[in-house]
Symmetry: C2
Subunit: 422 residues, 2 copies
Amino acid sequence: MKKKVIIVGGGFGGLNVAKILGDDESYSVLLLDRRNYHLFQPLLYQVAMAALSPAEIAVPIRAELSKYKNIDVLMANVHSVDLQSRKIITDAGEYDYDVLILACGAKHSYFGHEEWEQFAPGLKTLEQATEIRRRVLMAFELADREKDLELRKQLLTFVIVGGGPTGVELAGAIGEISRYTLSKDFKHITPESARVVLVEAGDRILAAFDPTLSISAARSLETLGVQVWTSSRVTNISSEGIAIGTEFLKSRTVLWAAGVQPSSINKTLGVALDSGGRVLVDVNLNIPGHTEVYVIGDQANAKDKNDQPLPGLSPVAIQQGRYVARTLKALARGKTPQAFHYLDKGIMATIGRKQGILQVGSIKLSGFIAWLGWLFVHIYYLIGFKNRLFVFVQWAWHYMSFGRGARLIVHKEWMSYNNKGE
Amino acid sequence: MKKKVIIVGGGFGGLNVAKILGDDESYSVLLLDRRNYHLFQPLLYQVAMAALSPAEIAVPIRAELSKYKNIDVLMANVHSVDLQSRKIITDAGEYDYDVLILACGAKHSYFGHEEWEQFAPGLKTLEQATEIRRRVLMAFELADREKDLELRKQLLTFVIVGGGPTGVELAGAIGEISRYTLSKDFKHITPESARVVLVEAGDRILAAFDPTLSISAARSLETLGVQVWTSSRVTNISSEGIAIGTEFLKSRTVLWAAGVQPSSINKTLGVALDSGGRVLVDVNLNIPGHTEVYVIGDQANAKDKNDQPLPGLSPVAIQQGRYVARTLKALARGKTPQAFHYLDKGIMATIGRKQGILQVGSIKLSGFIAWLGWLFVHIYYLIGFKNRLFVFVQWAWHYMSFGRGARLIVHKEWMSYNNKGE
């Protein structure tokens, strides 16, 4: 009798668990996700910035797993988990498990100011990426037809909140779009005059990197016309712009890349969470006292060898997913599992089309070589041959042409637009 | 002093007028469209059927025209036209013209039953294509988790209303998706068992073609499992399915490909329209009595040499657009314009991945060769090198792999989903 494994979440963590358990004779697997696709989130900002199309960074989960007889996929929303009776409650009904793997990832955190979201969308989903694309491109369109110079200035001011990798990538891309992609497209405005401000509460951007790399990244951003404001904590966001203490920066396009919080499922578990809401797991990534429940990726607080929480990076989720699957295989063969150890392969970020920073152990790189490294790693890890091929072709093409392949403003409501008639 | 030309609509008609008038010393051109992109509508059904991404059949209008000094582009909605004072009224203000070209195209017509649209979306915009894709893919997802066999059957029943080229292409594609693309993806349903019904009010599908071709197209559809119902007029559509007289066909996914009507702008002109609402234009494509106003494409009723209205096809719009631009150039040089003559290059349609029909004068072709002809012509005419290249790569790829590159269910509301967690 096979043990019933339920995996919640088809991201980097969950998908890697499933693939290794595929065709395993000891387990039957059910993977749930509220999406029908696996998203390659590290490139999501390129969808938001119109360089890639959604389909180029996403693969259908069913297609990825269809070859495994023992894996079933269900598109559903998981509302809560009942650890005692070992079942999950979803909008498609309840499901029992022998082993549960929670890999639901994270969503944006507005630090208790959820009302800011409407004015400053975050970048975690394809819908958000499309919405950000719409807002950025529409700002230029509206500025081009705006007679009032003060309003035009506000329309051409873009603010990105949060100086982490995503914020830096967004700011760099907007700088590039205005300088290169759109520069010849408008008769009434000069897109190059767009103002891009990257706002960071800490004293430097990319705090996860060595200070020297933070500085070279800031310099690269400035060459793209991005103003980098550090030690600047946002105190309010409205349709008019953002407030930093007593200062108010007028802008019609504010993007949020500041904070994340784990899936709200954590609150339903009734177990110990860290201050950020992540589940505190033991060395086997189990919830203490529940050897049948694993929590991985952004949803968990797992400690590294220095007893520090591991960062919310895809390599962590991937390694944890593989660890859990191998642990389950070991247990099925009656072995005792080893503790999880994260192998740090380094961190990297990109600033625009040909600047990057890269840090592996004591090696610190910045500039074009670092960007090539970033490009190689991301194409290599992008799941699925098709995506690898197309993303490469697309990048190669718009690198040569300065074009933005997916520069479409697709509206949210399809019917209202259909009814308007041209 | 250059004459002010206003082009309304960046479709096949309007874009071709603009490109030929580009850098002309006699005219300054303003092209308005409510979109920021030109859409290659003949391939829109492939976006709806998840074979192509929106960006692969669309190009930014600004990018297409940015090299012409005398052409300005404005993204705006045109509400009405004042023929007497020679100005157009838009949501971005009023604009005077010396010459006006109306090329707004058509939207769907529900024959006075607009309430049907929510149950049976049409396929004219990218939003609609994405919505249709969402409905078709979601139907399989919901069927897979549906325990009630009767409901499951309704979820796996797809009805396409309208047996023209679009309806045939949609029906054929859904037949293929269920038979090939999805066949291995589900554990609880066999997608091959999906029922696809093409409903046509007339006595045969593809009425524009020779009857022998209509028959071979119907046979090709049947090999893909599509049931072709002719002489079947829809009398009602609800969330439950469609009514054909006393008969009721239960289906959760109904698509509309039946009728089109010209842009609602026509009603604001106060000139003679045909029964379909199209502007009756003279041999120069002018509104009678208004030599400064041209109406082209789906918005106009222009007669062929047998005094029959020209069909709503892209070649007609393209040729009319080029004709108008050349006429304006001739007038600027003091010449008298020739009458417009449509050069019929034939018509074609495709049924699935390798069946097509093609009719050029007395030549009638069906089968794989006709499909190759269709493929070649569509790739050739697809505007922009990038799109040609990518569409070809994408097609070649999913022709070999039976895959569907863009099989993503992207939801309409981005924020509600963001808030749900994960």
